[in-house]
């Protein structure tokens, strides 16, 4: 389904460009007037004097001229850039779910800033911007490389962006955890703060915005042609690849500049173009202009809210937070309205062996046994390591960790198999789809509420958070016949919202926050024996249930119509299986924190090894998942001994790296 048909179906009344732009300008003016007056005691007459060139003398004057006005200008510029680039990217890729946020740029910039602040703090002031931009461009290039630039119109690119986000984000988290004292000042940037101190940042940003003019001149023509499809556009003599690349780079350049100055503020670039289209902006040019205007309006409202709230509290209210609070529900709502029932796949069941032989099973079991052996018997020393029978105490430390890694790996893998078969997309996995995100949100919110992150209530909270997300998902997607896009975008919206909330918690800068980051990185360190046993028991129970339902899974993965024809109550089976997957995911997240990529990779590898029928895929994936997580847990304990990396981090690094490699290879071989 092309985006133009989507557009024409849902956005009926085309407005004339002039009318809508005029209306937007009026709206922006009105909002700006309110915005500038928020929390200012300066009388209007004095403001007018300052505008007309009077030199400031009181502190209030200085605040007005050097903090409020530059902030206002910044909001206008940043909002415009976000709206414009959002629209540009969405039109280029013909994908209404894309934005710099979903393409992984902010995590790239975040990672490079973290690296720089820790290892080359002296260069931050002079070269920080360039570095952040490099990171953003690289991560973006990675996403495009994964899916290929012709394949940017579907959901896969969103999932790839999400994977890159998780990969780079976990790398950054690992670095922060190993160097916690250095990273403190970064958290404000991560939370997205528009406060200004003088006009320096505005003046730094302005010359970089020349690109905007270029985009406004060149883009409309190109985008209009692109709507005819790549082939048609090429037939009219357009060098698509070059223009596409140029425009894309221009967009990312703009976004990176903005990111460097104000930090991570998500959602605006994603929502503004969607609003523009729903307002009836049909032509390419109209959409660009109206989106830019909407970006300004949205950011004015978000930042105005932040300003307004900060009158009541001495705490910093970052604009990124208010933007996310407004943006996340809006994103879910827009996805929901968009109701596309099935997305095109670019990626079918991975190639590889057709049958699962006994020999491969033997090899797998051997590998599994090896990891188990290493985790039980290897004892690290200062000088090296030795194999020794663990004594009672060491055993009491080790077995809960091993059991947790075992159960969590198997659980996530099984959840992954279910999700991939339900959503008919081999890129789906429970951690990308908001199940983990829901748990994290619950724990972080409760942390705000109580003011302290309590580990004892954590599991129950995490579990209820996950179940609540599931409930929302089921309610939302039921009426859309469980469309993958609703499921995925809800997950992404939640994940981004949580990211912002976590950053907000982090800017407090006290020692407690590191406990949260550590939990977020998925560590088995704090798991008690009773918790490990509980996880083990509960996971096996759900695994048993899944095995009982295996026929439904087979039928559903054969296709909805096939399943219906065989007399299966598809929707009910779907809801039940989704619940089981969510339960597995919630259990793991509750006990050891979010674990990424296992749910994605284990089913995939199982299929490549030839485990293709449901029962075999379930069992082999579970085995593989346990193997991965146990390996990660063990590696984390030995690789930087005596310090430890959490299993979640290692698994993201190994899994993420392997995943990116796999996708790239698959794409290249497709081409060749």
């Amino acid at each position: 389904m092309t985006s133009s048909s989507v557009l024409s179906r849902f956005y009926p009344t085309p407005l004339s460009v002039m009318t809508s732009v005029m209306a937007l300008i009026l709206l922006v003016l009105g909002l700006s007037l309110t915005y500038i007056q928020l929390g200012t005691d300066l009388p209007l007459t004095r403001q007018w004097q300052l505008w007309s060139g009077a030199s400031p003398d009181s502190f209030e004057d200085y605040e007005y001229v050097y903090a409020r006005l530059p902030r206002w200008v910044m909001v206008i510029l940043v909002g415009m850039v976000m709206g414009l680039t959002g629209s540009l990217i969405q039109q280029l890729t013909r994908n209404p779910l894309l934005s710099p946020m979903t393409l992984g740029t902010s995590s790239g910039a975040w990672l490079s800033l973290v690296i720089m602040n820790i290892w080359w703090p002296g260069l931050v002031e002079s070269h920080g911007a360039t570095f952040a931009m490099g990171g953003a461009l690289l991560s973006m290039a990675m996403v495009i490389l994964i899916v290929g630039w012709q394949n940017l119109s579907g959901l896969p690119v969103v999932l790839a962006g999400m994977s890159v986000n998780i990969l780079l984000g976990s790398l950054a988290t690992a670095i922060i955890l190993l160097n916690d004292q250095y990273a403190r000042n970064l958290f404000i940037w991560g939370a997205g703060d528009l406060s200004q101190n003088g006009w320096d940042s505005v003046l730094w940003l302005l010359p970089r915005l020349v690109v905007v003019a270029g985009i406004l001149v060149v883009a409309p023509g190109v985008l209009t042609l692109l709507r005819l499809g790549h082939e048609a556009a090429a037939a009219r003599g357009m060098n698509i690849a070059v223009l596409f690349l140029l425009l894309m780079i221009a967009g990312i350049w703009l976004v990176s500049s903005v990111l460097t100055v104000v930090g991570v503020i998500g959602f605006i670039g994603l929502i503004a173009p969607n609003i523009a289209r729903s307002l009836g902006a049909r032509t390419a040019q109209a959409e660009l202009l109206v989106s830019a205007g909407m970006g300004v309006v949205l950011l004015l409202v978000s930042d105005g809210l932040a300003l307004y709230l900060s009158q009541f509290t001495p705490e910093l209210i970052p604009s990124g937070l208010t933007a996310a609070l407004i943006g996340a529900p809006a994103l879910i709502w827009f996805t929901y309205r968009r109701s596309v029932t099935q997305e095109p796949l670019f990626f079918s069941m991975p190639g590889g062996k057709q049958h699962f032989t006994r020999r491969r099973l033997m090899v797998l079991c051997l590998l599994f046994g090896w990891v188990l052996f290493m985790s039980v018997f290897v004892r690290m020393m200062n000088q090296g390591w030795l194999l020794a029978m663990p004594d009672e105490f060491i055993w009491s430390l080790r077995w809960p960790r091993i059991a947790t890694a075992f159960a969590a790996g198997a659980g996530m893998a099984v959840a992954g198999v279910i999700m991939q078969r339900l959503i008919h997309n081999p890129l789906a996995s429970p951690d990308l789809l908001g199940m983990s995100a829901g748990s994290v949100l619950a724990v972080v919110l409760a942390g705000f509420w109580v003011g302290q992150f309590d580990t004892h209530w954590g599991p129950a909270l995490a579990f209820s958070g996950s179940m609540l997300t599931l409930f929302v998902l089921l309610v939302l997607s039921r009426r859309k016949a469980f469309s993958p896009s609703v499921v995925i975008m809800t997950g992404i919206a939640l994940a981004a919202l949580i990211e912002t909330l976590v950053q907000f918690a982090l800017i407090k800068g006290t020692d407690d926050v590191y406990a949260v980051i550590r939990w977020l990185s998925g560590s088995t360190y704090n798991v008690e024996a009773s918790e490990a046993l509980f996880l083990l028991g509960a996971t096996s129970l759900v695994f048993g249930c899944v095995m009982l339902c295996h026929r439904w899974l087979t039928l559903i993965s054969a296709g909805r119509s096939v399943a219906l024809a065989r007399g299966l109550e598809v929707n009910r089976a779907f809801a039940l299986l989704l619940t089981l997957a969510a339960a597995l995911c919630a259990l793991t997240t509750a006990i050891m924190g979010p674990v990424a990529f296992v749910g994605l990779l284990a089913p995939h590898m199982a299929a490549m090894l030839g485990a293709r029928s449901v029962i075999i895929q379930l069992s082999v994936s579970a085995l593989l998942g346990s193997f991965f997580l146990m390996l990660a847990d063990w590696t984390g304990q030995v690789v930087i001994y005596p310090a430890q990396l959490s299993a979640g981090t290692i698994v993201s690094l190994i899994g993420g790296g392997y995943f990116v490699f796999l996708l790239m290879r698959g794409r290249l071989s497709q081409k060749g």
């Binding site: 160097n179 910093l316 016949a481």
Partner: protein
């Protein structure tokens, strides 16, 4: 046959309308479905059951953890022997009569009887390690030694101390291998207490808390630790030295400020637009208090004593001095900025930098803090001080200072 909801029917994918009708009509589906077993409901029930059991489990765990509190708290007679290691409840070997050397240590939640002072103490927290080293006792193991040297700076840790890895997740196997006879922990490691007690007895100190005066608590802990390692006289001498030193510094300040000490607030920049203010319950503010200096911008009590806020909020400081801790990467840029320049205290020349100092330390860090702050204050004093502040002679004097009078 059934009620058609046009909207729902629409959303069902292309081929499915007849089967979807079956779905809506329960009776029809029951006759045709093979899976009549009420599995879905059973599973749902199971899920609800877990949630319940999880909720029940959670408080259980926390109650479990408080066992040592209940065993020891409030009963000064019930004492545990430190020799009984690797048991959860070290209250078995109560000696009938305390020997000459035996003594009782009271930590933040219990009392423990020691027959003799511990020799191999492992510390999981920087501030406790700092206190112990100030008492001239090296711990056998502590976490993140390299970073400690970079941030806490002094006192130095000797090269023989075992590294335990990250402060958040100290390596327990390594800790056990070091065979400590006592482990000192603070708030951050409370959850580990049960497991640590299998290695060695544990003393828990609430070093930074919203519910007490952090400085007084650190001095109390200093004394307790001194008693533990039998260095009480050293501790008293050091505390007295600190008092003398602080009285000296105060005198210098009084001279330099013509007998009228200004109010002072200390901050740390976190970006060009936001700052941490060291408020009530922070070590810098206590150091200032000991020097007899009130805060210029009083802040509410918090656990660590810091509050993050907007740079603009500093405008409410009209009278008094603002000192900011270095290092800050963008210090030059910030000092040039119009907003900073417009701050009333900057225009009055009432702001200055303080050399890098660790602000979450123990008792002796109060002295280093006071020295650093005095140094900075003297540099912007109305009466210039030509001679640098001399180090004091370690002579025992009895000078009453601010902190004493509070006791």
């Amino acid at each position: 046959m059934l009620i058609k909801d046009s909207e729902t029917i629409n959303t069902v994918s292309q081929s499915g309308s007849s089967a979807y009708e079956r779905f809506l009509d329960k009776r029809a589906s029951i006759t045709e479905e093979k899976q009549r077993f009420p599995l879905p409901y059973a599973v749902m029930l199971g899920l609800v059951f877990w949630m319940g059991s999880l909720a029940v489990m959670a408080p259980e765990v926390s109650a479990d953890e408080r066992v040592p509190v209940n065993r020891f708290a409030g009963s000064p007679v019930s004492v545990g022997s430190v020799n009984v290691s690797s048991v959860n409840v070290p209250s078995v070997n109560v000696p009938s009569e305390p020997t000459e050397q035996g003594f009782i240590i009271r930590d933040s939640e219990k009392q423990v009887y020691f027959e003799r002072p511990p020799k191999r103490i492992a510390v999981l927290n920087w501030d406790l390690a700092e206190q112990l080293i100030e008492l001239e006792v090296m711990p056998v193991a502590m976490p993140e030694i390299e970073a400690y040297h970079e941030w806490v700076v002094r006192p130095r840790v000797s090269g023989e101390v075992e590294e335990l890895g990250l402060r958040d997740e100290p390596n327990l196997e390594r800790l056990a291998a070091v065979k400590p006879d006592l482990i000192l922990i603070a708030h951050r490691h409370k959850g580990l207490q049960q497991r640590l007690m299998k290695i060695a007895p544990v003393l828990y100190f609430d070093t930074f808390s919203q519910d007490h005066n952090n400085a007084q608590a650190s001095i109390e802990i200093f004394r307790t630790l001194a008693k533990l390692v039998q260095k009480s006289s050293l501790a008293e001498a050091k505390l007295q030295q600190m008092d003398v030193r602080i009285a000296q510094l105060r005198q210098q300040l009084l001279n330099a400020y013509r007998g009228d000490l200004p109010a002072v607030t200390t901050i740390r920049f976190s970006s060009l637009t936001s700052v941490y203010i060291y408020g009530d319950n922070s070590m810098p503010q206590y150091a200032l208090e000991m020097l007899g200096i009130p805060p210029a911008m009083p802040q509410p009590v918090t656990q660590w004593g810091i509050t993050q806020t907007r740079l603009l909020d500093l405008r409410s400081i009209h009278e008094g001095i603002v000192l900011y801790f270095t290092p800050f990467d963008q210090e030059k840029k910030l000092k040039k900025s119009a907003i900073w320049q417009a701050m009333p205290f900057v225009q009055a020349g009432q702001s200055h930098r303080v050399r890098p100092a660790w602000t979450y330390g123990g008792a002796m860090s109060l002295r280093y803090m006071a020295e650093a702050l005095t140094e900075s204050l003297l540099e912007i004093a109305p009466v210039p001080v030509p001679v640098p502040v001399p180090e004091p002679e370690p002579e025992p004097l009895s000078v009453q200072t601010a902190i004493r009078s509070e006791d």
